[in-house]
């Protein structure tokens, strides 16, 4: 039967139809409850494969397993009207407001023809990057889960699964309020504000930076949704939430719009110290800030800065991406492998120097 079904899809002149949803700007809790409801509806087959676009009131969104105390400046959030919420997807904390456009896919895994989660993420991100290219930016997929333009992140992504149903979501930066992001998130940036801002701008970009004019929301949605539909060989039809989804949404909202959901994962900030080290080399000064997971002995986030000359310029940002979630014991071989794979001009800085710099930052961290 499976073979017959595949042949029908291949020979049919009418591609499968996915639903296109635009749920506008909503509170974070409502958006998270819709994530849960639409994924459950897809899993129980009461809703079709769907592409959804969405917007947020100002909010700080934790990854599913993250702790608010470790990731966010909660005092700043409370004082500045930034709502704290928890995603159902994995990954790191992000700041969202009207300057970002959210995009999401809800699909049955079998419609994608891929088994492994990393392959699924790559296929979806590559399709979204193709759509962004059509807006006039040189967007590319960067493993594991980013879409970037010349080393700067333009769209971060993450997913959730429930049986055969998948939800994959990304955030497209239309504009980027770097100061706000640095205030909301406890990221291992420099303490000096101007350096931190410059450093953040080296890593993150937006359509406003890349294009003379940011396209209208409706034009971005049309281009992105068409690219995603093309990548999966489907056509799209605008739709609304169905009655089953509305019922699931109302039940999910009761659970999610509640402090038990948002603060239910609690880990002490002391379990995730931020440490730093700095060294002078012939080519300049290199500094590293590391957010470290003490119980798991993993690098959670590494942030290089300084005035060293390294070409290509994006090298250190790509290394930061490679080092995310790496066990400290595997850090040296990861750095060596990274440099062995590419041509880098680094004026006297060796991979071993970088390994030693990271080790120097961690020298006072206790070993469990």
């Amino acid at each position: 039967m499976a073979v017959v079904a595949v042949e029908l899809i291949v020979t049919s002149h009418f591609p499968p139809v996915w639903r296109l949803l635009d749920t506008g700007v909503r509170r974070a809790a409502e958006n998270m409850a819709l994530n849960r409801a639409l994924l459950e509806a897809r899993q129980s087959d009461v809703a079709p494969n769907t592409i959804r676009f969405l917007g947020f009131e100002p909010s700080a969104l934790l990854g599913f397993h993250q702790s608010a105390e470790q990731e966010l400046d909660l005092d700043y959030c409370a004082a500045n009207g930034v709502t704290v919420q928890r995603r159902i997807t994995g990954g790191g904390a992000i700041y969202m407001d009207a300057d970002q456009l959210g995009w999401e896919l809800y699909v049955d895994r079998r419609a994608l023809g891929l088994a492994e989660m990393s392959q699924i993420a790559e296929k979806i991100c590559t399709a979204a990057a193709t759509g962004l290219q059509q807006l006039g930016v040189n967007a590319q997929f960067r493993p594991r889960n980013d879409i970037e333009v010349e080393g700067r992140k333009l769209s971060g992504t993450g997913g959730a699964f429930d049986g055969e149903a998948l939800m994959y979501q990304g955030t497209l930066l239309l504009r980027f309020d770097v100061e706000k992001m640095l205030r909301v998130l406890r990221i291992p940036a420099e303490k000096l504000a101007d350096k931190a801002i410059a450093s953040a701008r080296d890593r993150v970009t937006s359509l406003a930076v890349l294009l003379d004019v940011v396209p209208e929301r409706v034009a971005i949605i049309a281009t992105l949704s068409k690219a995603l539909a093309n990548a999966f060989g489907v056509s799209l039809q605008a739709g609304e939430l169905n009655a089953a989804e509305i019922g699931l949404y109302e039940a999910a909202l009761k659970e999610i719009d509640h402090p038990d959901w948002v603060y239910g994962v609690s880990k002490p900030a002391t379990d995730r110290p931020t440490v730093t080290a700095q060294r002078k080399f012939a080519g300049g000064t290199l500094r590293v800030n590391v957010a470290y997971d003490l119980p798991q002995q993993r690098l959670r986030q590494v942030w290089f800065s300084g005035d060293v000359f390294i070409s290509p310029r994006r090298t250190l940002m790509d290394l930061e991406s490679r080092l995310r979630d790496v066990l400290i014991g595997r850090m040296p071989v990861t750095v060596e492998d990274f440099f062995a794979e590419r041509q880098v001009d680094a004026l006297g800085i060796t991979p071993q120097n970088i390994v030693e710099l990271i080790q120097a930052a961690l020298v006072d961290v206790p070993v469990i």
């Binding site: 499976a2 990854g63 994995g90 997913g159 798991q296 979630d325 066990l327 595997r330």
Partner: protein, 148 residues
Amino acid sequence: MECNGCEFRAELYYDDQYQIWVRQEEDGSLTVGMTDISQTVAGKILHVRVRRPGTIRPVGKPVATIESGKWAGPVPNIFDCVIEEANLDVLEDPNLLNIEPYEAWIARVRPTESVAQALSVLVTGDAAKQGYCERTRREDIHCERGAR
């Protein structure tokens, strides 16, 4: 034995998608873990969260959640049960699920109905072996251990 490099253990019980394995314990509890297929599909597992001991988990409500890469999702539950214990070694080092999926159990649970009732919705033995191998072939899954 193996299919496409995915280890199968005949003495265990499985859901019909071979996402989880279940082992019957002498004290009437059941031990739940992830199969070699599941840990391969998931990739490097970075977080595991098990519901608190004493929590009632009906069918469809997960015993545990995992996160790999930036994917989060449930370790599915297919019979009504109460959580008795989480494997603290796995909570501390979720990566164990990638290294030794059949030793690194996730939770011990007690079925709300009888053990026989819980096991009746699972598959085991030759039927399980056949289904397990079919899934690896159908989805072209080749297992790899130890994603770190």
